[in-house]
């Protein structure tokens, strides 16, 4: 596969040379990057062969083909070519930009190149072009996946003649996504530090994850309100501000053979801006790029002042909820990690966004006035759903916390005189609950109190304890892994489905039981609290006494 891709790069040899790039060096860098990509997913202490494995990529490609197929349903449903193609190219740009941000941020900002490539006679242009080529190769393959099924639909709906322009405009869409993301990175890097950029990227990633989830949920609801067959879009000035419309406008121009000023303007933007943009970025920002990266490496070795005093919050809270010793130590470590580790935040924070969207869709959207919302919530007991959703955040945190890039630092668990590692697990579970549940739950509780009234107070208490019980049950039925002790590469994604099903079953049973009691025997609800406390205590005590033999290493 690599040879095929490198052969493809060879087709553009002349273009690279014209742009002042050292082609043999570029080819060497791209070849190594492709090789390390193939191997990155499969490093472990036990695997020591040179066997390449492209399964991870193939699975991603398959998912993208399925996503493209789903999108082609929309292309089929919408009559207006302008509207259907706007939706499709928006989807393509967002998907590519999202992949670029999630998969390639680390590669684009890889400072390991500073000590490996920068001391060699490689100029900034060549290094930047190599990185861009590497990224384009990867995205190009995924772009093909996303476009595959829509290409068939477009051919059958609008005729085979429209296929070449559809694909060419698809390439322009990918170029636009690369241009937008790269320009943003380079500009931020120019005016800011790498660390700040990584934070910004983290928030963009979280935002995009939430927007995508929200988009998939909300757009069908919005579109269902329109008569798609009759929909027709007239070109206005503001269309020029939206890149997907340039692309769709260009395809519409070709399809309808409608050569007017508006369409010519769209086509000019669609063709000219991505190409000229990438050339300009390569010419003006790329030389700055290598210089800036070099400086970044130096800064990272220079002595840095502490940005702020160490937060005392976890240490203060830990005094109230943990016993001195390993449990308290782990509480503070996990508490801080949940607040600081970008990768863990990226996994957890979008779930909070999803919950907000979930609430919006299922509780609020059909009700305009506050009274109507209140009536809807009280009648259907929707507030229970609100009170139990936080377990989704807790279960993600529980799954993610064992994995860390700094997993090697876990040697301290084994060198410390620890009789029962359960004490560490206990500190971990308490930190997850306190950090990710309590503060948010107080806000949720207040909202429920305002909407439902004082009668919901008992539900709030009972549901809080049930959230804790569910967290304990999930922790106990899963394999016991020590926090921050596992290599991220060995995370088994295949377990996601099973874990999700177990969580939903537990969540459904507990919420159902609560609903049942609230509906038929509401007076006994507070009588549950002592039982919950006793069960929580027993479960926690068992979990805390987990022995070394029960730990998965």
């Amino acid at each position: 596969m690599d040879k095929l891709l490198l052969g493809f790069v060879g087709l553009f040899k002349g273009v690279y040379r014209m742009a002042g790039v050292n082609y043999p060096q570029l080819l060497a860098i791209v070849a190594v990057k492709l090789k390390t990509d193939n191997r990155r997913q499969h490093i472990s202490y036990r695997i020591n062969t040179s066997r390449e494995n492209g399964n991870a990529f193939l699975i991603t490609l398959l998912i993208y083909i399925i996503l493209g197929a789903l999108m082609s349903l929309m292309i089929g449903a919408i009559q207006s070519i302008m509207l259907s193609m706007t939706v499709f190219y928006s989807f393509l740009i967002v998907m590519i930009a999202m992949t670029l941000i999630t998969d390639f941020s680390a590669i684009l900002l890889d400072t390991s190149d500073n000590t490996i490539i920068l001391p060699r006679p490689v100029d900034g242009k060549t290094l930047y072009a190599a990185r861009l080529t590497h990224i384009m190769l990867y995205l190009g393959q995924l772009g093909i996946g996303l476009t595959l099924v829509p290409a068939f639909v477009v051919s059958s709906k609008y005729g085979l003649g429209l296929l070449p322009p559809f694909l060419l405009i698809g390439i322009l869409a990918i170029m636009l996504a690369v241009l937008i993301t790269n320009s943003a990175y380079l500009l931020i890097l120019h005016f800011s530090s790498e660390d700040k950029l990584k934070n910004v990227i983290n928030y963009i990633q979280i935002g995009i994850a939430v927007i995508c989830m929200g988009g998939y949920q909300i757009i069908p609801h919005l579109i269902s309100g329109y008569d798609l067959g009759a929909m027709r879009v007239e070109i206005s000035w503001w269309h020029y501000l939206m890149p997907p419309l340039w692309l769709a406008g260009t395809l519409e121009m070709v399809h309808l053979r409608q050569v007017d000023l508006g369409h010519i303007g769209m086509a000019t933007c669609a063709v000219f801006i991505p190409i000229a943009g990438l050339v300009l970025v390569n010419k003006f920002l790329a030389p700055v790029f290598a210089r800036k990266l070099g400086a970044l490496a130096a800064v990272s070795t220079a002595v840095k002042r502490s940005d702020r005093a160490m937060s005392k919050l976890p240490y203060t809270i830990s005094r109230f909820v943990t016993r001195p010793g390993p449990e308290r130590a782990m509480f503070s470590a996990v508490f801080n990690t949940l607040a600081r580790d970008r990768k863990i935040k990226l996994k957890i924070y979008p779930v909070i966004g999803y919950i907000a969207i979930f609430i919006f869709i299922f509780i609020l959207q059909k009700n305009n006035s506050l009274d109507a919302i209140r009536e809807n919530v009280v009648n259907n007991k929707y507030h229970l759903m609100l009170l139990y959703l936080p377990i989704m955040i807790l279960q993600v945190a529980l799954h993610e916390i064992p994995y860390s890039d700094e997993f090697k630092a876990s040697w301290v668990y084994f060198s410390a005189p620890l009789v029962k590692p359960g004490e560490l697990l206990s500190g971990m579970i308490k930190a997850i609950f306190v950090r990710l549940f309590l503060a948010g739950y107080v806000v949720l509780g207040l909202i429920v109190l305002i909407v439902v009234g004082r009668s919901a107070m008992a539900d709030i208490f009972v549901a809080a304890l049930n959230n804790y019980l569910m967290l304990m049950i999930l922790a106990m039925i899963d394999t016991h892994k020590l926090p921050l002790s596992m290599e991220p590469e060995i995370r088994r994604q295949s377990g996601n489905m099973g874990r999700g099903i177990i969580t939903v079953v537990i969540l459904g049973s507990v919420t159902g039981a609560h609903y049942f009691i609230l509906t038929f025997i509401p007076n006994v609800i507070l009588a549950l609290v002592p039982i919950q406390l006793a069960v929580s205590y027993l479960l926690h005590r068992t979990y805390k006494s987990t022995a070394w033999s029960e730990i998965t290493l």
Partner: protein, 255 residues
């Protein structure tokens, strides 16, 4: 004859100045020991001289070329062995060295042959096709040493090159450096290992808080403080309180 390395008022500022007015002159065939406490500015100096950092104040020339104006040509003629074992460790050493050779425009066959022979010298013959992710720190360091020299550079910059090496490898590297010197190569050697610096360096430069505080042969520096280079270093960097610090450390431990 023009010096191989020369700097005039070389300074570098990040948020504060980490290097101030460094004036260096290094001649062909010299081994320079470049020492200083942690955070003194040693690695920053090396990164400027190797063209990794290009925005600095003052002038820096290498082999007669302005580092700012001709960074690529300068990089072609130098070798750099960084402090941290930075390499693509999902590659095998053969693959990695082949990649490095290509960046210098070396002939593929030549790189392959040289790589195998050099790895053999460092007793890594059994690991030609093993991914470096499984290598120990010392094994990676050996690959880094080869990668820094495979193109036979005229000037060599070494930042803690003996880090993680076993005793035999340390002796071998020291011997290689002496042979390189005899072959007319210039070596800029930064380390915290005073005994090694003392033994191999023609001249020693001490840097402290971004400023050059001493520059001379071991004998010349010995006039400041009698004894080993360690004593001279302690004397010149103004850090005399080791014994009282150790006593304080112990008393804290025993609390």
């Amino acid at each position: 004859m023009e010096p191989v390395i020369s700097t005039q008022n070389l300074s570098k500022k990040f948020s504060v100045y980490v290097l101030r007015n460094i004036n260096l002159t290094v001649n062909a065939g010299e081994i320079i020991g470049y020492i200083g406490p942690n955070g003194a500015g040693k690695s920053t100096t090396i990164k400027i001289l190797t063209g990794i950092i290009s925005d600095f104040e003052g002038d820096a020339r290498l082999l007669g070329m302005d580092i700012r104006k001709e960074p690529i040509e300068v990089k072609r003629r130098i070798g750099y062995i960084p402090e941290n074992a930075a390499l693509y460790d999902t590659l095998t050493p053969i693959e990695y060295l082949y990649f490095i050779g290509q960046l210098y425009g070396m002939d593929a066959k030549n790189v392959d042959t040289k790589s195998r022979e050099l790895l053999h010298v460092f007793e890594l013959s059994n690991h030609f096709n093993t991914r470096m992710s499984t290598f120990s720190k010392g094994m990676k360091q050996k690959v880094l040493l080869i990668a820094g020299m495979i193109h036979n550079p005229a000037v060599l910059f070494l930042d803690e090159p003996l880090s993680g090496l076993d005793a035999n490898a340390v002796i071998l590297v020291k011997e290689i450096l002496m042979q390189l010197k005899r072959a007319g190569k210039t070596i800029f050697y930064s380390s915290h290992l005073m005994d090694v610096v003392e033994k191999i360096s023609d001249r020693i430069i001490i840097i402290n808080e971004g400023e050059m505080i001493a520059n001379g042969t071991f004998e010349e520096l010995n006039q400041h403080a009698n004894g080993s280079l360690e004593n001279i270093f302690t004397e010149l960097t103004g850090n005399h309180a080791h014994e009282s610090a150790a006593v304080e450390f112990l008393s804290i431990l025993e609390r």
